[in-house]
């Protein structure tokens, strides 16, 4: 029983940050129909910026809590700005062309950001562990859990709920949903789709960066982070269904639990398990576990 609980808890911890990343990716796909290959790069950017913020705060002798808040704020601001700039400044130029073109553009952005990150922060691993001690430790079932990891679960759930609420219960959200389901119709109804695009993309980038920032205290920031994250979040989004918020949640849970189970039961499977699930979903239910509802075209 303890063993089972351990896996579930580990899985939830994993799933919490996976969900935030996947959410951003699926949102961008749902609205703009772009698979943003640079999504992982924004995760990395968020992590690096967070690390810098934490380090700067710590250098001034301020308590870790300040560092925590500072990193979240700085990441939120910078990421949103970068996201908006990128969408309006670059991506917009390629709308209306073949879908493969935008994929290549985001791939180009991924390549560029890889090196930009290296040039700014160097190639050596960076750590920013001060916030990790903020929430103490918890002993459960004979194992020690770091409070920070556990706190991430409700934070992630809150973000998920906020997004869900925003999409389904606010006017702006419903407009965004309209664009997701039927863009042509939305345009003819007078929706300023360009604005929706910009907001959605900026949001997607923000979520990725936020996930990176939240993870920063417990990982090492080094080159290769972005490529690992993008492929993982892509797998989750495919499993859950491209463009589906519920899908991102279910996918993240599935992947998180699968990973936790593998680590404890069959470590060799930890990595390939996820992609096996992805392949299986693609073969038997290509639209994902949660098909984004498509309105019946008359």
């Amino acid at each position: 029983m303890n063993f089972f609980l351990t896996i579930v808890l580990d899985g939830l911890i994993q799933a919490s940050w996976l969900f935030i990343v996947a959410l951003g990716l699926t949102l961008v796909f749902g609205v703009l129909k772009i698979l943003n290959i640079a999504h992982g790069s924004f995760y990395a950017l968020g992590a690096y910026i967070a690390a810098t913020a934490v380090t700067m705060v710590a250098a001034r002798g301020l308590p870790p809590a300040v560092g925590f808040v500072a990193m979240l704020l700085s990441v939120a601001l910078i990421a949103s700005a970068v996201g908006l700039l990128l969408e309006r400044g670059l991506l917009k130029m390629f709308y209306g062309r073949d879908e493969v073109v935008l994929l290549l553009v985001t791939y180009a952005v991924f390549l560029i950001l890889e090196d930009v990150t290296k040039l700014i922060w160097g190639v050596n691993p960076i750590y920013a562990t001060q916030p990790y001690e903020l929430f103490g430790n918890l002993e459960f079932a004979g194992l020690y859990y770091v409070g920070y990891d556990l706190v991430l679960i409700p934070i992630s759930a809150a973000i998920g709920f906020a997004i869900w609420f925003g999409l389904n219960r606010t006017v702006i959200g419903k407009i965004v949903l309209a664009v997701i389901h039927n863009e042509e119709m939305s345009v003819s109804m007078g929706v300023r789709v360009n604005r929706v695009y910009a907001i959605a993309f900026a949001f997607g980038v923000l979520l990725a960066a936020l996930a990176g920032a939240l993870s920063a205290p417990k990982i090492s920031m080094q080159p290769g982070l972005s490529s690992d994250v993008i492929i993982l979040s892509f797998a989750i989004v495919v499993i859950g269904g491209l463009g589906s918020v519920e899908g991102a949640a279910v996918g993240a849970l599935l992947v998180g639990l699968a990973r936790a189970a593998s680590v404890h039961l069959m470590p060799q499977a930890e990595l390939f398990m996820i992609y096996l699930i992805m392949a299986a979903v693609l073969m038997f239910r290509p639209e994902g576990l949660f098909k984004r509802e498509t309105a019946r075209r008359i």
Partner: protein, 329 residues
Amino acid sequence: MKKELHLPVMIGLVAAATLFGRVLPTWTLSLATIAASNALIALGIVVLARTGNVSFGQGLFFAAGGYGVALIANAWGLTDAVAQVVIGAACGGLLGLVIGPLIARYSGIFFGMLTLALSMVFYGALVKSTALGGSDGFNVGRPSLFGMSFTDPREADFMLYAVSVIVTGFAGIAATILFKSEFGLASLAVRENNLRVEYLGISANRVISINFVIAAVFAGASGAFALMAQRHIDPQFAYWTTSGEFVFIAVLAGNQSVAAVFVASMALELVRSFSNLYLPNTWQLVLGVFLLGVILFLPGGIGSLWIGKRRKRSTLATKEPLAEKGAAP
């Protein structure tokens, strides 16, 4: 408007390129070897892309070829370069025969995602496999050729260069013949309208599978070359960024000209080398900007520079089959 094949000319070009290696400085030689090997696998992607399916997971066959050859080389002491290429190609081809028919029925975007997923499954398995060295991989010895071993680095480099240029060159000639063949035309038809193809009695899946196997064979052979050049194999061969780089070359080249694939591959290696030389950690940046430039100004890829806009084609577009409008009741 059929162009003549000029087979003797093409063979002559391959021979000339091989001999030219004699006078090239060592750094160019290694560069060209890598470029030739990458061109081979990118060529396979182009062959397959003509059916409307882009493979984002050629790393699977690239790694299969590399690991297959590495294991056999270490187990049986097989070091002959040509034999290694053949084994690599065979490993890729056998795997392609198994996987091809399974995924041939998935359309464009799902096909691409499946190939990606499968390559990452392989990557994941390799990284955690202690028997194969895990993420560190393992080393292999020097390649030989027809019984001769090469201790002088200059000779060894030239041998590898010659083998890779000749093999890739002949693959290019084979691809050119294929493109102009009946089967090549049918492949294009599959991309345009795979439903009509079926109505004409042609199995679209079979056409796709055969192209897929060809791509897998090229990828496996390329894996063998990469192994011989680095004398080392590791799971990175199957990672998505590796596959992505090969797609990058194919996209850069466009899907009309075989020669463009070589040009694109060489361009990539030159950019990488020069960036690393003058500004470390910038080659990806330069490549990214370069890619954006090509997308903006050369949507048909490099090949469109000389093939011309005879046909309206977008780069490696994965076209959905035309909706069967007549299906309404």
